[in-house]
Symmetry: C2
Amino acid sequence: MKATINDVAKHAGVSIKTVSRVMNNEPSVRKDTFDKVMAAIADLQYQPNSAARNLASTRSYSIGYIYDNPNAYYIIDMQKGLLDSCKKHGYELLIHPTNAKSPGIVEEVKELVSKSRLAGLILTPPFSEMPHIAAALEEMNVDFVRIISGSTPSPSINNCVLIDDFTAAFKITNHLLELGHTDIAFLCGDEEHSSSGERLAGFKAALTKRGLQVNPKFIVPGHYSFESGVEGAKKLMALAKRPTAIFACNDEIAAGALFSARLMNIQIPEELSIAGFENSPFSRQTWPPLTTAHQPNSTIAAQAAELLFKHTRPNANKAQIHAQPVFIPELVVRESTSSQPHQKK
Amino acid sequence: MKATINDVAKHAGVSIKTVSRVMNNEPSVRKDTFDKVMAAIADLQYQPNSAARNLASTRSYSIGYIYDNPNAYYIIDMQKGLLDSCKKHGYELLIHPTNAKSPGIVEEVKELVSKSRLAGLILTPPFSEMPHIAAALEEMNVDFVRIISGSTPSPSINNCVLIDDFTAAFKITNHLLELGHTDIAFLCGDEEHSSSGERLAGFKAALTKRGLQVNPKFIVPGHYSFESGVEGAKKLMALAKRPTAIFACNDEIAAGALFSARLMNIQIPEELSIAGFENSPFSRQTWPPLTTAHQPNSTIAAQAAELLFKHTRPNANKAQIHAQPVFIPELVVRESTSSQPHQKK
DNA sequence: AGCCAAGATGACAGCGCTGGTCAAATTTAG
DNA sequence: CTAAATTTGACCAGCGCTGTCATCTTGGCT
């Protein structure tokens, strides 16, 4: 019922070892042999037994995904993308939710890698931004790919997938500017997350490019949470000079701001435009739905996994891997933003 | 560095075979030998190499979790609980998100089980309520545990974890009744989910017990979605005789109802009480926060896994497993409910 | 044609564990 | 104290695959 490597070898008229070579795309297999084997694999629908591979080989066929992110939607999307890519390459995915702030976190990661004999790791914020984690992994000689905020690929680094928060934030801000807004406020996320800083930078850059001053009162520090949005909007609306639009660092904050505004009886978007970031399901469940920036999380995850597999592949020449994909979240316009306040000031 | 079964055997002063016997809890190992081995295992922090076990043994040491639930928070919690339990027993967890409505779903599940050589499966709604899935698994002789809505354990079934939606709904309704409400409406979830039916039944039972009539106009069919809550509340508030309280089948619906009410300028909870169900993070991000019923999803998941392991354990006598835990979600009172409308009608 | 190096392929051992068989050691019962 | 039952160990094969190394081809060159 289940085809083994032996069956494939017989079917293709080659030795087991040759099939193995093909499976691991080792060099020195002639083209026609390769094709023969591939055909046999397809014929028999052969899938290598990962247990046997793990056992026999020093390397492993599972990768790990470590996360600690309160945003469940994000995690689920990531998992989906990783799983797709894993399935394609015959890898297994081990998920490992944990607490990034735990003091023994580095040890925990090390132990996970060694106990589960992982081939590599996928890191998302905040893990992807923790230098001691990266250092520990490098020391252990374990491959990993980090998904981080950034726009400019560095030639010396080949294990990152970049999300261009700067440009996306620039676009959102531009959208608001084009609607005629000039007094735009920004609700920050957690300082520790570089995404917040990048988005703020993009926001400022867009204003500056239009020749507008950045009003420091319009930049409100905060966290990636609903409550933070509620508070932030309250502060902004208490100002003598109110902004006419708010750009929140993510959808949760935006949802908080939205709710806060409604409590203060401020019509959205007639009196105040609000934009978020992430395009989480959240952004469709507010009313009005949020203008936001869409991050294709599954796709990003899949790419990250592909990149990891390039590294872990036995004959990978790591120096040759230059890919460092950059994703730019797309502007999604919904009803929470509209042109300049309709009413007179 | 990594302890093998051999090291444990030496350390305990017994043979490899005996350690193996202990690991697989085979019978005919004397108590003190057992303890000695267990001590050695603890000393060396021995973790069996699952690859080797999988390979050598006909059985397997991974379980699968199949899901298709738009509720990311729920999935994340479930995963957490399952992982905890798996770690404890040296199992691996394979997650498999998929589409329950896909026509080839039974085949897909079968293939997953055979390709990944799963020891068992955990099923949550909607999979746990699909008879053809259960039938297929039984036919394949694969163990599985279902998490379903129900309050009365059946002696003939030993692979279910029950969630007593009926009683929890009864409690929530009672809470509203005790606040003095008599005109209480119910916003249903999807008909296909038995949880919705159970909760409705609990709601009706509570009313009936108080000698109150169930007003059919106050029972609004719908779906487990924010939008459904918005619509449902709108309908209810358009009635000549409005309810003074709404019990929504889950937090998302409740959030929708809440928002709808606010749009209609109805003060919550002064003019209208709203209760949800689930205690998802969602229920804390609305304003006011929702009264709801808390489901300890992680705990439920962990228990389900424990139950599964009892079945898959090599020498398990399945007939002897009677456990069929019942969880009753706990009432959580927050600000969205209060006593009878403060103002005159 | 003849020779050689590089390239392609195969034979074989062994990864860490389980399952089986059987015999030896130990305990328990009578 | 002996027979029977129970517990333990020694030993072997083998799960499906990979790593090593030896062997066989191939093609380039004189």
